[in-house]
C-alpha cells in the first residue's frame, strides 16, 4: 500500500517537475528563438551606440596656397533639461558669459515647456536635448566644462540621500554637453568673396539626432560642393553604464574622408591689387558698380575677378542681390569694345586691310532708316584709325562689308551668346540674336556694340583671344584639386576652344589696338611707362524700357600688355559712373593702376627696347626718373 502511495507521489512530483521544465523550456524557446530579433534589438539599444563622424570641409586656396576659405572646429553646446531639474538659474549664471547670451535666454531654453502645435498635438521644446549655442570656440567650451564641474548649489551634498547626490553629480557631468561642429571662415574677409562664395548650414536627421553640415551657396563653394564636402564616417560601438565607449567592442569603424582642397587660379595679391584700385575708382567716379578681371591670355587663367560692391562671407547680413558677381551674371551692351570683333573678323577674312580707308561721313551716316553718329566728325579714316578714334560709322561700314553671316559667325566664334563654361554659378549666355531676328539696321548697330548683350567675361575672353594669336581659351578659375596633405588629385589644364582668327590677323589687330593707348587715341590714360599696351575703350549708353537714356553709361576699357608678348589681359567696367563717363577717361587710369602694380608683383620684364605708347620725350623723362608718372 505504502509502496503504491510512494509511486503515486513520485509520479506526481515527476509530472510537476516535467511541467515546470516544459514551461521553462517554452520560455527559453520563446526568448531565444521566437522573440530573438525583438529582444536582441532591445538589448543592443541599451549598449550599442552609433556615432556619426562629420568630414572636414576642404579649403579653398589661391594659386600660391594662401587660404581663401577654411573650416575651424567649434562646438555646439547642448543641454539635457531633464537632468537640470529646477537648477536652471544656477547653470545659466555659470555658463552664460561663455555663450555670449543672457541668463534669461538660457533659462528659457533649459526649461522644458509643453504646448500644442497647430495640429493640436502635444509638443515640447526638448525634454532631453536642447541647443544652447552654436559655433562656440574650443577655449570657451573648456571654460564651460570647468564652470559646470565647479557648480555649487549651496547645500552640503555629503549629507544628502544617494539619489540627490546622484542627481547633482549627473547635472555637473552630463547636463551640459557639446557636439563637434565646423565653422566656415574666410580669413581674407571680402577678398575674392564672390568667386569663393558663401555657405549655409543644413541639418539632416540621422538616427533621431540632427546633424548639421555646410553647404555652399555661391561661387566655388557652390560649384565644387561635392569635392569640398567629403564623405562622412561612422562608428558602431558599445558603451558602459557611464556611457563610456568600450573600444574593444567596436564593431564598424569607418573614418570620415575629408573634403578636397580646391586650388584656384586666383592670385590673392593680384586680387588685392584689383580690389584696391577698384575701391579707389568707386570713390573717384561713384559708379553703381565696377568690375575688374585679370586674365592670362595664353592659358585663360583668371588671376583676379572683382565686382564691387561685394560682401564679406563672414557676415551674412552683408550679402544682398547688389553684391552678386556681375562679371558673369550681368549682361550689358558692350559699346565700342565690340568693334574688335568686327574689325578682326574683316581683317581675318581678307575683306579689308589696316590701311584701307573708309569715309566716316563727317559724323552722320544714314542707314536702314536710322542715322548713326560719331562723337566727332571724321572724314576719311583708315581701319587702324577707326579703332584708334573708335569711330562708330567706320565700324558700321566694316560690318556692312563683312556681311550679316560673317558678323554673326565671328561674334559666335568669339564666344558671344554662349556660356564660357567657367566654374562659377549663374553665368549668363548673353544675347546674340540669330540673323533671322535681326533688323536691317542691326548690321550697322552690332559692330558698334549695340543690339548685342555680353557678359564682362565674354568680352575679356574675346580680347584675350586677339592677344593669344587668335586662339580663344576657356576661362579657368579652378587650377587643381588636392588632398589635405598637398597631393594632387586632379589638375585642370588650359583648354583651347577654337582659333577664331589667324595669327597674322591678330598681329594686325594688335597693331591697331596699340594706337588706342596713344595721345591721338581714346585711352591715353591707360598708357604704361615701361610696357606697350594694346586695348579698346567702350562707352555704351544704357537702355531702359527699350529707350537709350541720356546720362547713363557703361564705361569700359579692356587691354593687355606687353602688347607683343601679352602676359596679362585686364578688363575694367563701370556701371553709370557719375564723375566722367568716357571709357578711356574713367577706366583707362584704373587699368594703368592695376597693370603697373601687377607688373611689379608678377615681375613681368619691361620691354627691352623700352617701346611704350608714351611719347619719346616722356619716355626719356621716365628713364631718368623711374618714379615719374605720366599725367
Amino acid at each position: 500500500m505504502s509502496n503504491k502511495l510512494q509511486v503515486r507521489r513520485s509520479l506526481l512530483l515527476l509530472g510537476f517537475l516535467g511541467a515546470a521544465f516544459a514551461g521553462l523550456g517554452y520560455r527559453l524557446v520563446d526568448l531565444q528563438v521566437l522573440r530573438h530579433e525583438e529582444l536582441s534589438t532591445k538589448a543592443g539599444q541599451n549598449t550599442q551606440r552609433e556615432y556619426w563622424q562629420a568630414p572636414r570641409r576642404g579649403d579653398i586656396l589661391d594659386a600660391n596656397g594662401n587660404i581663401l576659405a577654411t573650416s575651424i572646429s567649434v562646438k555646439t553646446v547642448c543641454a539635457d533639461p531633464s537632468l537640470i531639474g529646477n537648477c536652471q538659474p544656477v547653470v545659466a549664471h555659470a555658463i552664460a558669459p561663455f555663450l555670449s547670451m543672457s541668463e534669461a535666454e538660457l533659462i528659457a531654453k533649459m526649461t522644458p515647456r509643453v504646448g500644442r502645435n497647430a495640429k493640436g498635438d502635444t509638443v515640447t521644446n526638448g525634454l532631453h536635448y536642447v541647443r544652447l549655442g552654436r559655433n562656440v570656440p574650443e577655449d570657451a567650451w573648456q571654460h564651460i566644462v570647468a564652470a559646470m564641474t565647479n557648480l555649487s548649489f549651496g547645500v552640503d551634498e555629503k549629507h544628502l540621500p544617494p539619489t540627490e547626490r546622484s542627481f547633482y553629480r549627473s547635472l555637473r557631468l552630463q547636463a551640459v554637453f557639446a557636439e563637434p561642429d565646423q565653422l566656415r571662415t574666410y580669413p581674407g574677409g571680402r577678398l575674392a568673396a564672390q568667386v569663393v562664395g558663401f555657405p549655409s548650414m543644413e541639418e539632416t536627421n540621422i538616427s533621431g539626432r540632427l546633424v548639421s553640415h555646410i553647404v555652399g551657396r555661391d561661387g566655388v563653394e557652390f560649384m565644387m560642393q561635392s569635392q569640398l564636402a567629403g564623405v562622412a564616417g561612422w562608428r558602431v560601438t558599445e558603451t558602459d553604464r557611464q556611457q563610456r565607449e568600450l573600444v574593444a567592442l567596436r564593431d564598424e569603424d569607418v573614418n570620415a574622408r575629408d573634403g578636397m582642397n580646391v586650388v584656384l587660379t586666383l592670385d590673392a595679391a593680384v586680387q588685392n591689387i584689383v580690389e584696391d584700385e577698384l575701391a579707389k575708382a568707386m570713390v573717384a567716379h561713384k559708379p553703381k558698380s565696377v568690375t575688374g578681371i585679370v586674365m592670362r591670355p595664353r592659358t585663360g587663367e583668371i588671376l583676379a575677378m572683382v565686382s564691387l560692391p561685394n560682401y564679406d562671407p563672414n557676415l551674412p547680413n552683408t550679402i544682398t542681390p547688389e553684391t552678386r558677381n556681375r562679371v558673369v551674371t550681368d549682361v550689358v551692351e558692350p559699346g565700342s569694345t565690340f568693334k574688335i570683333v568686327v574689325v578682326s573678323g574683316a581683317l581675318n577674312s581678307g575683306r579689308t586691310k589696316l590701311t584701307d580707308q573708309f569715309d566716316c561721313e563727317h559724323g552722320h551716316f544714314a542707314f536702314a532708316g536710322r542715322t548713326l553718329h560719331d562723337h566727332e566728325a571724321y572724314g576719311m579714316l583708315s581701319v587702324k584709325d577707326i579703332i584708334m578714334k573708335s569711330s562708330n560709322i567706320g565700324a558700321a561700314k566694316i560690318g556692312i562689308l563683312l556681311g550679316e553671316q560673317g558678323l554673326y559667325d565671328y561674334a559666335w566664334n568669339f564666344g558671344f551668346g554662349q556660356r564660357s563654361g567657367i566654374t562659377l554659378p549663374g553665368e549668363a549666355r548673353g544675347i546674340l540674336y540669330p540673323i533671322s531676328k535681326w533688323y536691317k539696321v542691326s548690321l550697322a548697330q552690332i559692330p558698334m556694340g549695340h543690339g548685342v548683350m555680353v557678359t564682362r567675361l565674354q568680352m575679356l575672353s574675346a580680347m584675350a583671344a586677339i592677344a593669344n594669336g587668335g586662339w580663344l581659351m576657356q576661362p579657368m578659375i579652378i587650377k587643381r584639386l588636392q588632398e589635405r596633405d598637398g597631393s594632387v588629385v586632379q589638375n585642370y589644364r588650359p583648354a583651347r576652344v577654337r582659333q577664331v582668327i589667324s595669327e597674322a590677323a591678330s598681329k594686325q589687330m594688335i597693331e591697331a589696338l596699340k594706337t588706342v593707348v596713344t595721345k591721338e587715341g581714346t585711352a591715353y590714360g591707360a598708357a604704361l611707362e615701361h610696357y606697350v599696351v594694346a586695348g579698346k575703350t567702350g562707352t555704351a549708353q544704357k537702355a531702359e524700357n527699350g529707350v537709350y537714356v541720356r546720362g547713363k553709361y557703361v564705361s569700359s576699357f579692356i587691354g593687355f600688355f606687353p602688347a607683343d608678348q601679352p602676359e596679362l589681359c585686364i578688363s575694367v567696367v563701370m556701371d553709370e559712373p557719375l564723375e566722367g563717363y568716357y571709357g578711356g577717361k574713367v577706366c583707362g587710369p584704373v587699368f594703368r593702376g592695376i597693370a603697373e602694380r601687377c607688373a611689379s608683383y608678377l615681375n613681368i620684364p619691361a620691354d627691352p627696347t623700352l617701346t611704350t605708347n608714351v611719347p619719346l620725350a616722356n619716355a626719356a623723362l621716365s628713364l631718368r626718373n623711374p618714379r615719374t608718372r605720366i599725367p
Partner: protein
C-alpha cells in the same frame, strides 16, 4: 591483484595533494589572468579613447596654427601691415630690377673634380 589500502604506510601522499594544488592554482591563475586581461582591456580602451581625443585635438591645433601662418604670410595682409606701419615701401619699378642671364655653356670650363676626392 591490487594491494589492500589498509596495509599501506600511514605517510602523507603528496601526489594527489600536488595535483589538487596545481589544479587549484591553475584555476586561480586563469581567473586572475582573465580579470587582469579584462582590466587591461578596459585600461587600454580608456587610453585609446584619450589618445584618439588628443590626436583629434592636435590635428585641430595643427590646422589652426598652419592657417594662422598662412594668413600672416598672405600678400594682402603683408600689404596692409606695410601700409599700417608706414614703412615707405613701394614695389620696385621695372627699371630698378636687375635681371641676370642664366650662364649657359659655362659649366664645361669649370675645373674637373680631383679623382681622389671624397664623395658624400
Amino acid at each position: 591483484m591490487a594491494k589492500n589500502r589498509k596495509n599501506l604506510s600511514a605517510g602523507v601522499r603528496f601526489g594527489p595533494v600536488l595535483k589538487v594544488v596545481l589544479l587549484g592554482g591553475l584555476f586561480c591563475v586563469a581567473g586572475v589572468g582573465y580579470v587582469w586581461q579584462k582590466s587591461e582591456i578596459a585600461r587600454l580602451s580608456q587610453q585609446i579613447r584619450e589618445r584618439e581625443k588628443r590626436l583629434v585635438q592636435l590635428k585641430d591645433d595643427n590646422k589652426r596654427l598652419a592657417d594662422q601662418i598662412s594668413i600672416l604670410h598672405s600678400p594682402p595682409r603683408l600689404d596692409l601691415r606695410a601700409k599700417e606701419l608706414n614703412l615707405g615701401l613701394s614695389p620696385a619699378l621695372p627699371l630698378q630690377v636687375v635681371r641676370l642671364v642664366e650662364p649657359t655653356g659655362q659649366w664645361s670650363r669649370l675645373p674637373a673634380l680631383p679623382r681622389s676626392g671624397s664623395r658624400p
